[in-house]
Symmetry: C2
Subunit: 331 residues, 2 copies
DNA sequence: GTGAAAGCGCTAACAT
DNA sequence: ATGTTAGCGCTTTCAC
C-alpha cells in the first residue's frame, strides 16, 4: 500500500504538501495540487486510518465502538442497524462487540475498545454499576448508553419507557378478562427487566388484582429461560390464563412451551410479549407485542454520540422513546 | 492512558526492557521484571493496539474484519456469532461491516477495512466478480469467504451444498404429491441463489415434472421481495400448490402473503424455506426448512482465517458443509 | 541484561 | 506556497 511518502516522492513535493491537499488545509498551488492528485490516483493511495488515529487524539479517526449484550436478540440487531446507518453516512466505521450477556467478555471488550482508541462508544452495559465503563466516561470518552444506563453517572442515554410499555401490555390482558397473569422476566440485573416488572405490578394493582408470587418468574433473557420458566408456569396446580413475556427471546421460548403442552392460544392462555419482531405476524398465532422503536433508538444514539464527539461539553441528554402496543391474535 | 514510556520512567528502565517483559522476549533480570510489572499494575497500563498495528505488518494486531451482506438476516447473525466466538477465544477483535446488499457500501467498507490494517477478513461478497476483494486477496491479505465465493480466485471458502439442500426440499414436496411447485429466489447475482435454483430444477427434472417459468420468481433476498413475489404467485390464474423460498426473509414475506390470502397451510399451499431459524417451530404453522449450520460456518471460517494468518502459504481449502431438511407442519 | 535509536504513516507547528 | 521536523506508542535491531 502506497503511503504519503510515496505520493510525495512521485509528485516531487514534501509530505506536508500532500497532507495539505489531502485535508484541504492551507493553500497549495493549483499545478502542484494537480500533480499530487494524479499521483494519488496513479498509486491508488489510501490514507492509513491507523496512523491517523495514532497521531493525535485531537483529530477524529472515524471509528466508533458498539457494545451490545446479545446479537441473537433481534432488538439489538435493529439498534445496531440504526447506529450503523448513521455512522455510515458520517463516514465512521464500527467495531462491534457482542458480549453475549457475559460480564467477563464485556470487560475484555471494553479494554480492547479503549486500546483501539475509538472516538466514541455506544453501549448497553451488563449492569448499571459497571465500574469500567463509568471510568471510561469519566476519563472523557464520549459514551452514549442505549437500553440500559449507568447509575450515578451523567451520560447520554436513549431508552424507551419500559414501565409504561409493560403497563399497557398487562392492562390489555386485564381488560380482556384475564386474571391469573404471569410475568416471565429477563435478568434482574438489567434495569429494563425491573421497569417492566414494575409496569406489570402497577397494572395489577391499578385494577385491584392481587399479586401471586408464583406467577412471577425470573430468568436469563434468553430462549431457554422462556422455555423452562413457562414450563414451570404451565405445570402449576393452577396455571396462568395469560403470560406477559419480558423480551422477544423469552416470548419464543414460552411459545414453544405452550405449543408443547398443546394449549390453544388465546383460548387456553393468552400471551403478549415485549419487543415486536418482523415475523411477529407470522407466528402461531400472530403475536400481540409491545413494540420498541429499535432502529430509531440506534439512530438517535449514534446522532447523540457524533454530537458529543464534536462538542464534548454539552449537557447530557436522556431520551425516552415511546413504545406501542400492537394487538394481534395471541390475546 | 499510560504509555510504555510512563512505565519505563516509573520503573527506572528503558522502554525496550518494558517491551521485553510485555512480550516475554529476550531475557530480563527478575528484580527489574518485578519492578516493571508493578509499574504496569500501578499505572493500569494497557498497550495501544493502534501503535502496535502501525508498527509493523510482521506482528499481529489482533483485529479481524467481517463483511456481511445483511445483518437483518438471522443466518448471517449466526455466522457472525460463530466467527466472534472463535475470535474471542483467540483474543481477536472484530470490525463488523454490514453492507445491506448495497455494493457501493460494500466498496467503502472494503476500503476502510484495508486502511484499518486488519490481520484478515471474512467476507460474503455481493458478487463473485468483486474486483476490489480479489485485489486484496492478491495483495496478500488473508481472506476467507463464507456463503459466497470469488470467481477464478484461489481463496479459502466455507459454504453449504446449496444445490443439494434445495433438491431435498423440492423432492420432499414432490413426494408429498405437490406438482405446481413455485420457487421464490433471492438476488441472482448471489451464487447460492443460483445453486438453489439448480437444485429446484434438478428435482423437478428427476421426477419428470415440467418446469413452469411463471412459477419461478426472482427477487431481492429480502422480506419485501418474498411478500410481493408470493403475492404475484397467488394471483396467478392457476396458483402453485407449494412454494420453495430461497432464504429465511423471503420465507417470512411469503408467509405474510399467504396469510393475507387466508389460505390454509399446507392444505391449500405447502411451503418449505431455505434456512432454519430458532423460531421456525413457533411459526404458523411450524415451518419445514432446510437448515444450514450457520454457527458452524462462522466457526470454521474463523479457524481457517487464523490458520492462514499464521501460515500464509498453505493451500486453499474449500469446505462444503451439509444441510439438513427439518420437516414440520408447513408441508 | 539493558539501552539507544530507527521507523511504521500521519498531522501540525514552525521555518523558509 | 512549500518544506522540515517532532512526535503519537510501539517493536526491533544493534550496541554495550
Amino acid at each position: 500500500m502506497a503511503s504519503m511518502n510515496d505520493i510525495a516522492r512521485r509528485a516531487g513535493v514534501s509530505i506536508a504538501t500532500v497532507s495539505r491537499v489531502l485535508n484541504n488545509s492551507g493553500s497549495v498551488n493549483e499545478a502542484t495540487r494537480a500533480r499530487i492528485l494524479k499521483a494519488i490516483k496513479d498509486l491508488k493511495y489510501q490514507p492509513s486510518r491507523v496512523a491517523k488515529r495514532l497521531r493525535s487524539k485531537s483529530v477524529s479517526s472515524n471509528l466508533l465502538g458498539v457494545l451490545i449484550p446479545d446479537i441473537q436478540n433481534p432488538f439489538y440487531v435493529d439498534v445496531l442497524r440504526g447506529i450503523e446507518d448513521i455512522a455510515y453516512t458520517n463516514n465512521y466505521a464500527i467495531i462491534m462487540c457482542n458480549y453475549s450477556q457475559d460480564e467477563k467478555k464485556e470487560k475484555l471488550y471494553l479494554e480492547i475498545l479503549q486500546s483501539e482508541a475509538i472516538d466514541g462508544l455506544i453501549a448497553a452495559p451488563a449492569n448499571e454499576q459497571d465500574v469500567q465503563l463509568k471510568k471510561m466516561v469519566r476519563e472523557g470518552l464520549p459514551v452514549v448508553c442505549v437500553d440500559r444506563g449507568l447509575q450515578d453517572e451523567d451520560v447520554d442515554i436513549v431508552v424507551v419507557d419500559n414501565r409504561e410499555g409493560a403497563f399497557k401490555a398487562v392492562e390489555h390482558l386485564i381488560k380482556l378478562g384475564r386474571r391469573r397473569i404471569a410475568y416471565i422476566s429477563g435478568l434482574q440485573t438489567i434495569p429494563s427487566s425491573r421497569y417492566r416488572e414494575k409496569g406489570y405490578l402497577d397494572a395489577l394493582s391499578s385494577y385491584q388484582i392481587p399479586v401471586v408470587p408464583e406467577l412471577i418468574k425470573h430468568g436469563d433473557s434468553k430462549y431457554e429461560g422462556g422455555l423452562v420458566l413457562c414450563e414451570e408456569l404451565l405445570n402449576l396446580p393452577e396455571p396462568p390464563d395469560a403470560v406477559f413475556t419480558g423480551n422477544n427471546l423469552i416470548t419464543l421460548g414460552a411459545l414453544e412451551s405452550i405449543h408443547k403442552h398443546q394449549l390453544r392460544i388465546p383460548d387456553d392462555i393468552a400471551i403478549v410479549g415485549f419487543d415486536d419482531m418482523i415475523w411477529s405476524s407470522s407466528l402461531n398465532p400472530s403475536l400481540t407485542a409491545v413494540r420498541q422503536p429499535a432502529y430509531d433508538i440506534g439512530q438517535r444514539a449514534c446522532e447523540l454520540l457524533l454530537q458529543r464527539i464534536s462538542e464534548p461539553g454539552r449537557a447530557c441528554i436522556k431520551m425516552i422513546l415511546k413504545t406501542e402496543l400492537i394487538v394481534r391474535r395471541s390475546t
